[in-house]
Symmetry: C2
C-alpha cells in the first residue's frame, strides 16, 4: 500500500483528541468498545521497528499517556495494546479499555464475541477530558 491509498495518510472523519508533529491520538467512536483509541504515526511507516529509538520512545510515551489516561478516566479491568496493521500497514497502536462484561472478554476484541456485552458509558466531555489527561501525563 502506498501513502496515496492509505486511510491514515488520507483521513476522513477522524476524531483527533490530541496531536503533535509526529503522531496523533484518535478516539474510535464506532468501535463498540467505549474509550477505544488509536495512536497514529503521522508519516507513512509500516513497522514499529522502522522507527529510530527516539521516535519509538516518543510514540510509546504517547501510548502510555493514553493508557494511563483511559485507566484514570474509565477504570477498566484490563488494557489491551496492539500494533497489527495487516489491513492498513501504516504504524498505529490500538489502545483499548477492556471490561469483564464486554462482548469479547477475556478474548481479544478481534476474536468471536462471547456475549452481548454490557454498555459502558463514557464520562461527559470525554474527548476534552482525555485530551487534558494526555497533556498532564506527558508533563
Amino acid at each position: 500500500m502506498s501513502s496515496s491509498t492509505c486511510e491514515f495518510c488520507n483521513p476522513r472523519g477522524e476524531t483527533v483528541v490530541w496531536s503533535d508533529a509526529r503522531c496523533r491520538v484518535l478516539h474510535v467512536t464506532d468501535a463498540g468498545f467505549a474509550g477505544f483509541c488509536r495512536v497514529v504515526w503521522n508519516d507513512h511507516v509500516t513497522e514499529f521497528s522502522d522507527l529510530d529509538e527516539a521516535d519509538r520512545n516518543h510514540v510509546m510515551k504517547v501510548v502510555v499517556a493514553v493508557e494511563r489516561s483511559l485507566r484514570n478516566l474509565l477504570s477498566p479491568h484490563k488494557m489491551n495494546v496492539a500494533s497489527l496493521g495487516n489491513q492498513t500497514p501504516h504504524l498505529h497502536w490500538h489502545v483499548i479499555p477492556r471490561y469483564r462484561d464486554d462482548s469479547h472478554y477475556p478474548n481479544p476484541i478481534w476474536a468471536a464475541p462471547q456475549r452481548e456485552g454490557a454498555a459502558h458509558a463514557l464520562p461527559r466531555d470525554f474527548a476534552a477530558r482525555l485530551r487534558s489527561a494526555i497533556e498532564s501525563a506527558l508533563g
Copy 2:
C-alpha cells in the same frame, strides 16, 4: 491473579531464547505461527503503564530487537505486536511474524481462521540464530 498462580511467574516448559535481569524472550513453539515470540517482563506487573519510563524503554528495546531479528531471519509480510494479558495479567508482548498465506491473514491471529494456512519452515538452528540476532540488535 496473584503471582503464586501466574504461569509467567511459575513457568513450565518455556523455550527461553534470550534473557536479562528484567525480561526474557520466549519462542512459542506450539503456536501454529512460525517464529512467534513473547517478551515477558520478569516481575509480576499487570499493565505496560505500570512500568516506569526506563523499564518501558528497556522492554520495547527488546521487543524491537526481536521484531528486527524475526524480520531479518524470516522475511514475513508483516509483524504484529500486542500486549493483551486478559487471561494472564502479567506483562508480556506477543511478537508475531505474519504471512499473506498464513491461516488468519489479514486478520489478527485471534480471529476466525481464513484458510488452512501454508507451512513456514524455520531456518535450521532457529533459536540459536534468533538469540545471536537479538544480541546484535541490542548492541
